[in-house]
Amino acid sequence: MPLIEARKVTRILPGIVPTTLVQGVDLTVGENEFVAITGPSGSGKSSLLYLLGLLDLPTTGEVLIRGRDTSHMDEEERAFTRLSMLGFVFQFHFLLPEFTILDNVTLPMRALGRYPAGAMKTRASELLDVLGLGDHMNKRPDQLSGGQRQRVAVARALANEPAIILADEPTGSLDSKASEQVFAVLRDIVDKQGKTVVAVTHDLGLAERMDRHVELLDGRIVGDEQHQINAMT
């Protein structure tokens, strides 16, 4: 069973002149995939990601998560699905500035309430350790570099052990060194943790290094190819 499936998904923004963001997209993403979505600006990459992540509702078509149609879910149910099954990483880290790094990572766990209080801190610490941020747990976001913040955002996305990480330009605001670090982290999530990552990116170089490359143009999929990537490289 695919993890996420988009069936004839169309998203039209209403207005005096309606704008079509995504048109008739069919896309299936399975377990342990590393998918890049690329395309020129305005091609509907982020819109598609938001639809797959239940942040937005399709005008027509369906999005299925683990085979379950989400179009009939109410807002609370969609929120719970996001919290328990999906992890988000955005172009900007979007960490809560008043909270420490550790608090930011534990937030989704506290909202879900799946882990006991002690286990939440332990898990958050482990995640931050793995991402090389073990020494920064009690710092606030503004005390970290851009790359570090983005890695914290990845740790937060992983907090509730979601099956899928949806990343919207995760390296878009980073320099090349930090971009490499974040990419390496996402690669590890797929290779070592067996999770699925769907990432929107402008960087074709990065996209080529992912397992699958989906290309969008004017809201439609115009390319979908698998890459043979040697995990060791």
Binding site: S46, Y50, G53, L55, D56, E75, E76, A79, F80, T81, R82, L83, S84, L86, F88, F90, Q91, F92, F94, L96, P97, E98, F99, L107, P108, R110, A111, L112, R156, D168, E169, G172
Partner: protein
């Protein structure tokens, strides 16, 4: 700490100045509400206590609420008789001792017979209309505070002279009579006696102190020119608030007009209702203005935190959770404001209690204040409710934020 409370607390804590102003607004509202309620309630209690202490709780007089029906009206239902002079009756309560004994069998409290006569006091070219009440000093303490209100002598001084009299202190001042002075009492029926002033009393109710005097029952009966006359039974209850209920039963049992203290001053007491409405309206207005401050701060926080709200929603926080965060923030402001307001209110009351006032109509030179937890609980409750109401609208708006719009805007 609970997640909602943790985020809410972090938000308000990170905006010390804005939160401080909002808390100060609520605190001012609560503080002044408490002070106002304390003063209004205090003055009302003070007035009521003085009425209760001055007057018998129930006065049974020899009058009837309705004139007795004519014999023909009793016999024939359709008979209606006009223009008749009511039958002349001998004044006084019939068989007063038997009536008292019957009442004492069930009445909680004291009962005392008395004779009330309207007379003119003449002394040193002063003629003052006075209500003279003939009493039994030994029973008086069971029906009134008069023994405690005596000045310069005890009530037993009435036994010292043949026709002894105690005057209200304002009355004695008005006519210039001192202890030992012989004054003349004259009634409209032509009775005239000379009485010796043996003491004064002070009730604190100007009307009483200026136009009342007490003599022995026997002296009162001489003045009324009717031996054995008792035209008033005065009753005092352990619980003055039950007076109206007991008065109704007394009237039903005896047939005589029985008036409770609150009925006697019904018009005056009804003004307290209007006064209380005004007070609650003003208190409500103060707290409403304070709640605008809370609305303002919560609106500001939700506006500033639009991005955080979007990210929380994208992470999977429900609308209920997001809404609750901002309602809890309003509650924190309301709660902190109420606590500070309690202290402020108490200090304002204490400060008000130290203000000296000189008023010829008041005995005390301090403002009467009532301290009760009810004022605090009420003001606190209104503050919390108005804070929730003020915070709910911006919280609801925040919870409905569409995360994609904010995230797109931020990127």
């Amino acid at each position: 700490m609970n997640l909602i409370l943790d985020i809410a607390w972090t938000h308000v804590r990170s905006r010390v100045r804005q939160t401080g102003f909002a808390v100060a607004g609520v605190a001012t509202g609560v503080g002044f509400s408490i002070m106002m309620a304390s003063l209004m309630h205090g003055s009302q209690n003070d007035f009521t206590e003085r009425l209760i202490n001055t007057l018998p709780h129930i006065t049974v007089t020899d009058e009837r609420r309705k004139p007795p029906p004519q014999p023909a009206e009793q016999l024939f239902a359709s008979a209606e008789i006009h223009g008749l002079t009511p039958e002349a009756r001998r004044p006084g309560i019939k068989n007063p001792l038997a009536t008292m004994a019957a009442l004492e069998s069930w009445l909680p409290g004291g009962i005392a017979p008395s004779v009330k006569v309207q007379a003119i006091i003449r002394y040193a070219n002063h003629d003052v209309s006075t209500t003279v009440t003939g009493i039994d000093p030994r029973r008086e303490s069971s029906v009134s505070e008069l023994p405690k209100q005596m000045r310069g002598a005890t009530l037993n001084a009435l036994y010292r002279a043949t026709n002894a009299i105690v005057l209200g202190d304002r009355l004695s001042e008005k006519i210039g009579a001192r202890i030992g002075a012989n004054i003349t009492l004259q009634t409209s029926q032509g009775a005239r006696i000379t009485a010796q002033v043996v003491g004064f009393f002070h009730t604190g109710v100007r009307q009483q102190d200026e136009s009342s005097a007490y003599v022995l029952t026997k002296t009162g009966q001489i003045l009324a020119q009717q031996t054995g006359l008792i035209n008033e039974l005065r009753i005092r209850l352990p619980n003055a608030l039950k007076s109206r209920e007991v008065a109704t039963r007394v009237e039903r049992d005896t047939g005589y007009k029985s008036v409770s203290w609150d009925e006697a001053y019904e018009d005056l007491l009804s003004t307290f209702i209007i006064r209380n409405i005004i007070m609650y309206a003003v208190v409500g207005a103060i707290l409403l203005v304070a709640s605008f401050g809370t609305y303002n701060i919560i609106s500001t926080i939700t506006h500033e935190k639009a991005r955080d709200i979007a990210i929380m929603k994208s992470l999977g926080f429900s609308e209920f959770t997001v809404r609750s965060i901002f309602v809890v923030e309003a509650l924190i402001i309301g709660f902190a404001g109420a606590l500070v307001g309690f202290v402020l209110g108490y200090l304002l009351c204490r400060a008000l209690g130290t203000v000296r006032i000189t008023n010829p109509f008041l005995d005390s030179d301090r403002l009467p204040l009532t301290y009760t937890y009810v004022h605090y609980a009420l003001a606190g409750l209104v503050a919390l409710v108005s804070s929730i109401a003020a915070g709910y609208q911006p919280a609801r708006k925040a919870a409905r934020v569409h995360p994609v719009e904010i995230i797109r805007g931020a990127t």
